[in-house]
Amino acid sequence: MRIESAAAYDEFHRRALDSAAAHRQEVLVCCGTGCLANGSMRVAETFTKELQARGLTAEVGNFTKRTGCHGFCQRGPLVVIQPAGILYTQVKPKDVAEICEKTVAGGTVIPRLLYKNPADNKRVEHYGDVPFYANQTRVAMRNIGKIDPTDIADAIGHDAYAGLVKVMFEMTPERVIGEIERSGLRGRGGAGFVTARKWRACRNAEGEHKFVVCNGDEGDPGAFKDRSIMEGDPHSVLEGIVIGAWAVGAHEGFIYVRDEYPLAVVNLTVAIEQARQHGFLGTNILGTGFDFDLAISRGGGAFVCGESSALMRSIEGKVGEPRQKYVHATDKGLFDRPTVLNNVETWADVGAILLHGAGWFAGMGTEKSKGTKAFSLVGKVKNTGLIELPMGMTLRDIVYGIGGGIIDDRPFKAVQTGGPSGGCVPESLLDLPVDYERLAEAGSMMGSGGMIVMDDRTCMVDVARYFLSFLTEESCGKCVPCREGLKQMLAIYDDLVAGRGKPGDIERIETLAAGMQLGSLCELGKSAPNPVLSTLRYFRSEYEAHIVAQTCPAGMCRDLTAYEIVPELCNGCHLCFKACPADAITGETKKLHTIHQEKCISCGACYDVCPTEGAVRFYPKNRPAENREAV
C-alpha cells in the first residue's frame, strides 16, 4: 500500500508495532555474511520447524526473524531471544530444540550457550551486558540486528522513514541542509568532508538535472561496515538518499555496490522495490508530488572506483579512472550534471539526524568530529566484529575494552586504520581519542573504519609491503607518479623482506613517497605512501633491522627467519606435525619433535599452533648455529 500523508505513516507505524506486539517473544537469528558462513541459515530453518512442531508459533509468530549482522561475527551464529534479551553464541542446529524447550517455552537460560567473558570467565546472560555491545552507541547501525532487512513493515516499526516523513511534511530543503550542517555530519567514507557543504553546493548549482549517488564501493581491505549496513538495514540508506535528493533537488540516483557484496545487492533490490510500493520512492513520493528513483550499479572489482570521480565514470559504463578535482562533482559530476556523492554510512546517519535533531547528533563526539562512527575491529584482537561508537573514544578503550585485548595476550604493536590510504598507530598513541583530526595528526586517517589490530608477530615492513603490493595492483595507471612510484617502491620492499636491503633504501623510499604525494592525480595516489611513511615514522628500527642486520624482529619474513623446536620444552603434542604444510617436522605423539631445516619453508605454522610457550622458537636465519638466541 502507498503511504501519502503523515497520518497514513503514523497509522502504518502503529499497525507494525501492534503486529509485533501480538507475539510475546521474538527469536532473532543473525544472517549476516559472517554468521551465514558459520551455518546460521540452517539454524534459522531448524528454528522455524521446531517452533511449529512444538506449537509455539502463537508465542513467537510463524517465523524466526532473520536479521542482518549483529556485529559479533566471531561468535556466530548468534541467536537473540527477545524481549528477554538473551544472547546465545555459536548456536548449532542441534541446539535449537533445547533452546525452544528451555528458553522459549520454559523461560530458563541455557548457560553453555551464553557468551563467556574471557576477562573473568563468567557467562553473560544479556545482550546489552556483553562488553562488546555495552560500550557501543549505534546511529547508522541503529536497526541492524533488530529488523528483518527484507520486511519494510518491520523496519517502519523501528522508525524507518520517520525522518523522511518529518522532512517532507514539516521542513523546507534549506532547513534540512541547515539541520545537517548543525549536526556537524562529515563524510563517513574517510575523508571527512562536511556533508552539508556538498549538499548546499549541489542545490545551488545550475541545471535542472541533478543526481545523488551512494558510494557502496567499500574497497579498503579490513573494512566491512558499509556491507553490513546495506545488508542489514538497507532502508536506513534509502531514507537518507531520498532526503538528500529532496534537499538538493535531484530526481535520479544510484547506489554503487561492490561486486564482492552479492547479499547487499539482493537486500537493496528488495528494499528499493518495497520502498516504491509504499510510496517512499518513485513518482509522487508520500503524495507530495516529488519524484525520485534509484538504481543499483554493481561495481566491477576495482579499488580505484571508491574514488568519487572514478566511481561516477564507472556508473557511466566507462573505465574507472579518476579525473582532476578542480571541477567539483557538485557542479559537474555524474554525466556532467551536479551530483552529491556520499558514503553508505553517511546516508544511513541522515534519517536519524533529522528525526532526532541536529543537537542530539552533535551532542556526541569531539569538537570537530561529531556523532558516532562505525568501525570493523579485526586482526589480532580477541573480540572481532563490527562496532559503532561516539567519536573520541580512545584506541585503548576500543582495543582492550570492546576488543577484549590481544589474542593469547601477546604484546600489542599497532592499529592500522584508513586502509591503503591510512597508517599504523603505535602503542605510544593508544590513548589517542579517535576522530578525523587526531588520526590525521598521527599520520593515519579515518578511512572506511577498518581497524586492524596487530601484535608482535606482525612485521611492519611486511605490512607496508602488503599495502604497496595491493596498490600496485589497484592503481588505475592513468598518472605516472602513482603507477611507477608504487612499482619502484615495491621493488625496494621486495629486497627488504628478502634480506637484500641496502643502506640508502629508507631515503630512496622517502624520496619516492614525496614525489607521489606531490604529483599524483587523485587521492589514491597522493595517499598511497601513507602506510609506508607511518611505519617508517613509528617503526624505523624494524626497517633498520631488515637492512643492517638482515633480520625480521617479528619473525614473519621467511627469507630472514628460521624455526626450531626446543627439546627440553617439547611435550610431543604432535600439533606442529599436523600443522606443517611442508612435511618438515618429524616426531611421534608424546615424543620429541624435530624441524628439518632443509625442508622448512619458515611459514611459522608450528610456532602459531604450539600450545607450550617457548617450545617452538624462531631466530635469524643468518646467525651462526652456536649463537642462536631467539630474537
Binding site: C73, G299, S314, G317, K380, T384, I452
Partner: protein, 161 residues
C-alpha cells in the same frame, strides 16, 4: 582466441534485451555475460560492442580494467582466497600456498580439467572471521591450511552429483 568454438548466444540475447542499447549499460551487460558464461568469450564481446554501439576497443578496455572479468575460461568452481589486511596478518599466504600445492596450479590459473580456478580477492568484507576462503559460494571463516583439502573435497563431491 582463434579456433575457439562459437559459444551459444541464447543467454547473450536475453541479457542484451534487459538493458538499453547504450554505453551506460556496458558494465552491467558484461557482468551478466560473465555470470552466464563464467568468462567473457571473444565473439560475445564483438556482439556486445555491436548492439550497444560501443567501439570494440572500448569493450576490451572495460573488460580488462575490472577485476571481475576474465577473458579466459574459468574453472567450474572458483576458489577465492581473501587477501584483505586482516586475512593477510592472520595467514592468508599459507592458505594460498596450500591450495596451490593441492591443485598443482598457481593463483590466477585454472586446473586442466577446468574444475578449479584459484583467485585472490582484495577483501570480501568478512574480516571478523579472517582468514577467509570461499570455495564456490561457500565461505570458510578462520580457515586453516590443514583443512583446505576438506574445503575443496566438499565441492568436488558437489560436482559429481
Amino acid at each position: 582466441m582463434n579456433g575457439q568454438p562459437c559459444v551459444n548466444t541464447a543467454p547473450l540475447d536475453e541479457i542484451l534485451a534487459r538493458y538499453p542499447a547504450s554505453e551506460t549499460a556496458l558494465i552491467q551487460v558484461l557482468q551478466d555475460v560473465h555470470r552466464a558464461y563464467h568468462y567473457l568469450p571473444c565473439d560475445v564481446l564483438v556482439k556486445v560492442a555491436e548492439v550497444l554501439d560501443v567501439p570494440l576497443a572500448k569493450v576490451f578496455s572495460v573488460g580488462t580494467f575490472y577485476k571481475a572479468f576474465s577473458l579466459v575460461p574459468q574453472g567450474r568452481t572458483i576458489v577465492r582466497v581473501c587477501t584483505g589486511t586482516a586475512c593477510h596478518i592472520r595467514g592468508a599466504n599459507r592458505l594460498i600456498e596450500e591450495i596451490e600445492r593441492l591443485l598443482k596450479i598457481k593463483s590466477g590459473e585454472t586446473t586442466e580439467d577446468m574444475g578449479f580456478t584459484i583467485k585472490t580477492v582484495n577483501c570480501v568484507g568478512a574480516c571478523a572471521m579472517a582468514p577467509v576462503v570461499i570455495v564456490g559460494e561457500q565461505y570458510h571463516g578462520s580457515a586453516q591450511p590443514a583443512k583446505v583439502a576438506k574445503y575443496l573435497a566438499e565441492t568436488e563431491a558437489g560436482h559429481e552429483n
